[in-house]
Symmetry: C2
Subunit: 240 residues, 2 copies
DNA sequence: ATCGAAGGGCCGACGAGCAAACCTTTACTC
DNA sequence: GAGTAAAGGTTTGCTCGTCGGCCCTTCGAT
């Protein structure tokens, strides 16, 4: 143990880049909207309430809302009964930035970690009622094989729902973050119905294993599910 | 898909509290020191270089170094050949705060995710040379069953080393963060040699599976490894 | 017609962080 | 011994994000 060299100071001394409250808020709300967690037409809490919940000043929240409104994700109406609403329809997604593309493998790695952790804990903890709701999502997906936008929305609900089944808020947050990152990556990629069908078949296997508390099968099914999308990306993105 | 209710706005609207650059730096360096990534006596890069690497102003870095120096984790000497050094010996660890204790289950959940993701990707990607180094750590651990402080140091190197074998900087960061959190939890808990011996036996199984690229066995071994510590904590902490 | 609840706009204070100096200490070199 | 280089220590002033509060405008409900 004595002569052991210092390992990996590269990671320790990597830049500390803390987002501002404004940036974090835009990202939080923007991701929730893009993922459909806040569906089109939904009304956000009143500014005075929302800023309290988010733990920021109202002026800071308004900066974020102004940005989201200028990008077309949100609109506000004044007067009694007014409020801030999610746009309907949403603006078209932007193509992924070079920075996002350059890190696609790391994003997939992170996703692997979150989804595996979630599926293992879900297999330990999920209660039957939650699983029924997830089954319904799988059924819905079967109807959406031809419409990738719809499919992806439901897909996200399924994965986030699985995270909620762990009763671990941090994992839910991690899941929404990582799904947001994945959405940026895959929005511009063609997904033929056959691919979606096989992906949904994997969903079935995952849920079946989770229902039986079969951690091992759940893990394997989830790992295959991940590798499926990773292979698709590897074929279409630079550095694949 | 139409009538689906909004789900989990609790998570979406949770507080956004971003750390300041100062806080983040203290935590980064402090964790690296507590984990032994920066061993006692090690010299940090010169302030002017370090602040450039961390992407912060020198005055901000000095705030962080002052804090770490007052807490006894670091000391500075002036003049040519001087510098900032990790203290030797380190100050005694503080008992975990109530906030940390209250979230111990979530911390374990997060750890589960990170370690499972790491072990799966390591099983896919690890090359033999890296595994040899990890084997040595296991051998060292066998000599440290009677000295928990030493054992924990090497244990951390092993786990972080496995993360490095994935070649995914983000997972390395995630691993160091989560190991830091775990250290806060377990520092004050008795670990009899038998427990450490069985824990190290699990290390062996994990590495063996990784070496053979047997994702499934590696996952199972790692999940058992996690559950081992979780059971220990459940028996000794409130809410177990 | 009025009230109340919502967004919209504005301004002053504060503190974090930055940048660029300059000072002090120390050790090596000639 | 003088000089120089390399380190930490100090000071100053500026910028900008954030806070907190105040008032305005809009518009549905009563």
């Amino acid at each position: 143990m004595s002569g052991t060299a210092v390992l990996s100071p590269e990671t320790v001394f990597a830049p500390v880049r803390s987002q501002t409250a404004f940036e974090e808020t835009v990202e939080r709300l923007g991701t929730a909207i893009k993922l459909g967690l806040l569906p089109p037409g939904a009304r956000l809490p009143a500014e005075r309430e929302l800023c309290a919940r988010l733990g920021i000043a109202r002026s800071t929240l308004r900066q974020a809302l102004t940005a989201l409104s200028q990008s077309g994700h949100v609109y506000a109406t004044r007067g009694r009964g007014g409020g801030t609403f999610v746009a309907d329809p949403l603006p078209p997604a932007e193509p992924p930035s070079p920075q996002v593309l350059a890190q696609w493998r790391e994003t997939c790695d992170e996703r692997m970690a979150v989804e595996l952790g979630v599926v293992v804990l879900a297999a330990e903890r999920a209660d039957p009622a939650e699983l029924v709701a997830l089954d319904e999502h799988v059924a819905t997906l079967e109807q959406e094989l031809e419409d990738f936008a719809a499919y992806r929305q439901t897909d996200i609900r399924l994965h986030v729902g699985l995270a909620e089944a762990t009763s671990s808020p941090r994992l839910v947050r991690a899941m929404t973050d990582v799904q947001g990152a994945m959405t940026d990556l895959i929005a511009y990629i063609a997904h033929p119905p056959e691919v979606l069908a096989s992906s949904n078949e994997q969903h079935r296997r995952i849920l079946a294993a989770v229902r039986e508390h079969d951690t091992l099968r759940a893990t394997r099914a989830m790992a295959e599910h991940m590798q499926g999308t990773e292979r698709v990306l590897a074929g279409l993105l630079p550095g694949g």
